[in-house]
Homo-oligomer: 340 residues x 2
């Protein structure tokens, strides 16, 4: 059996799976942001017509997968596996949002890196000839996240300047063993990196070392540099985390030429939308990818993109117990060409 | 590329990965049960020397992986991917337990079916030629689970007769593309099944329909019947769930000949240990597999085993919001022969 690994930790797909459909479903604030015209569905009701914010988050996943399947021109019942997860306790946004479809479900957990992890695993399933049609889905909701991780919204707690704003949104992408692309060409599975950051209001700083680790590994494994890509985008490091990882990579001699960005900086207008450090949450990178980025690849504006989802692996309990915040970064490389 | 699927939803591995090492780490009560002499490490201190039950659970994962690697005769640093998850919020038992190893981590969520899901995905990674050496790990802890899902232990709440007792334990298994076996020959990814059970104190009943769904799918896909296996074991349905799934399968014409059991019934002595419905938790099926069952396969007492992990996809929040309890069942078939 030939190996499909390059370097220490990167998978290079032999027959890169194609993204044949994708969609993004978001809330009001995201719909007022700079990516407004790239979303498939904007609902200005924070509950999406449901009786709780948690049910609203499940509803977004259901809607995102439904629209992605429509855009791909396939029935959901033809999907062989779903890869889904989220940050609500016990991943219930995914389980309840997707339960009615009757498609085998691989539950995953990567905190805010979930979209990249799901795409990577779905690509493994397809390139390994275990499946011909899979989907990756995730979500987050500002109100369900605040209630669970911080304080109930009704308290009106003040936010620190480094705080990020959880994106209300869900992204879904459908992968196939045939199609015209874009294609998933590589997957670098992240390692847990923990440099001891304990400020749960500065997730960007906690996740930046993980992004540094995975991006460094990817460039080394593939013997490429930032100039080989049209866009290198991290998940949701926000303003402060993005500055940090840029500095960390610069010390390794890795420099960017205006092609390094972060979904947390793209999804909101930081000046006008009062989101402090930028966007965050599983939905942040998911809706930015399944809207702006993939649209730009379909239209030929971007050809090679590194999508590096970033996740903070904490819980309110671990913070209360005095723990630091471990980070992880899962990376997929997406190209309009099968040759990468 | 040839398909590696049989029937509607079962993966049949072409070069079945070998389990080259495994271990089980448990607490005092498990160490007093019928499987006592099959565990690698029994610690009678519920905190495992740590400062909280949550940290104890992380510690068990760390110890289980360390011992499994020792038994396999490999350094942990040679592992290419870890597949791990648990039921503590945001899967922190896994993230904190495994963070020091520096091995790329695929976070998964399957509730109490996590061990089967992890084994299935690790086998996909290896059989697909993406890796030659992976591990699957999970855990649960009675005290951390009670605190999170039910009431703090200090309240001394009374338990209903259908309640199950969360196993304090962690299991780890190491999979390789070479070795003498046992081998993972098949993986059936579970679908979410929700028949509307709302009693969070009767998880076995909630999960039984999912076990029915996956076991039926597996027998149909592989054109086999229970008599083709030495042991068919579900994860943690306990006494009531086991009776239910036996009935459900009987209505389909699927009958057992004394070879159908449940890890929740094997791990404790239900008469003597006051565990009501039996054992439960991610650790329940993990320590039963990574002790009694794999020992029996190594010694030739069992040759073909169906290991069907069962998970209840609820959270305290979904129960408070009036939701029912969706279930899922991930199944792997394990054989002492590569030919299945």
């Amino acid at each position: 059996m030939s190996s499909k690994r390059v370097g220490q930790s990167t998978i290079m797909f032999q027959n890169p799976p194609a993204i044949i459909g994708y969609s993004s479903v978001v809330g009001k604030k995201e719909g007022e942001g700079p990516l407004s015209d790239t979303f498939d569905y904007i609902n200005t009701d924070t509950t999406f017509g449901e009786s709780s914010w948690e049910k609203a988050e499940s509803r977004m996943q259901k809607d995102a997968l439904t629209i992605a399947a429509q855009k791909a021109g396939i029935p959901i019942s033809s999907l062989e596996y779903l890869f889904a997860g989220d940050l609500i306790n016990q991943c219930t946004s995914s389980s309840f949002g997707l339960r009615e479809f009757g498609v085998p479900l691989v539950g995953i957990f990567g905190a805010c890196s979930t979209m990249a992890e799901g795409l990577g695993l779905a690509a493994v399933m397809i390139d390994g000839s275990f499946s011909s049609l899979c989907a990756a889905i995730t979500s987050s909701h500002f109100c369900s996240a605040e209630r669970q991780f911080r304080t109930p919204l009704e308290y009106g707690s003040q936010r620190t300047p480094t705080t990020q704003w959880t994106v209300t949104g869900s992204g879904a992408a459908i992968l196939s063993n045939t199609g015209v692309g874009p294609f998933i060409t590589h997957y670098t599975v992240g390692k847990i990196v923990d440099l001891g950051v304990k400020d749960q209001n500065n997730m960007g700083a906690a996740m930046a070392p993980a992004a540094h680790s995975t991006l460094s590994a990817f460039f080394e494994d593939t013997k490429t540099s930032p100039s080989d890509y049209d866009l290198i985008v991290t998940g949701d490091l926000g303003k402060y985390g993005h500055e940090l990882v840029t500095d960390l990579l610069r010390t390794d001699g890795i420099r960017f030429t205006g092609n390094f960005n972060d979904c947390g900086l793209m999804v909101f207008d930081l000046e006008k939308q009062d989101v402090h450090g930028g966007g965050s949450g599983c939905g942040c990178s998911a809706v930015t990818l399944c809207g702006k980025i993939l649209n730009s690849m379909k239209s030929g504006l971007l050809n090679k993109v590194i999508f590096a989802g970033t996740g903070a692996l904490l819980s309110p309990m671990t913070t209360m117990q005095g723990e630091s915040v471990p980070g992880i970064c899962h990376l997929v490389c997406i190209s309009t060409s099968k040759e990468g």
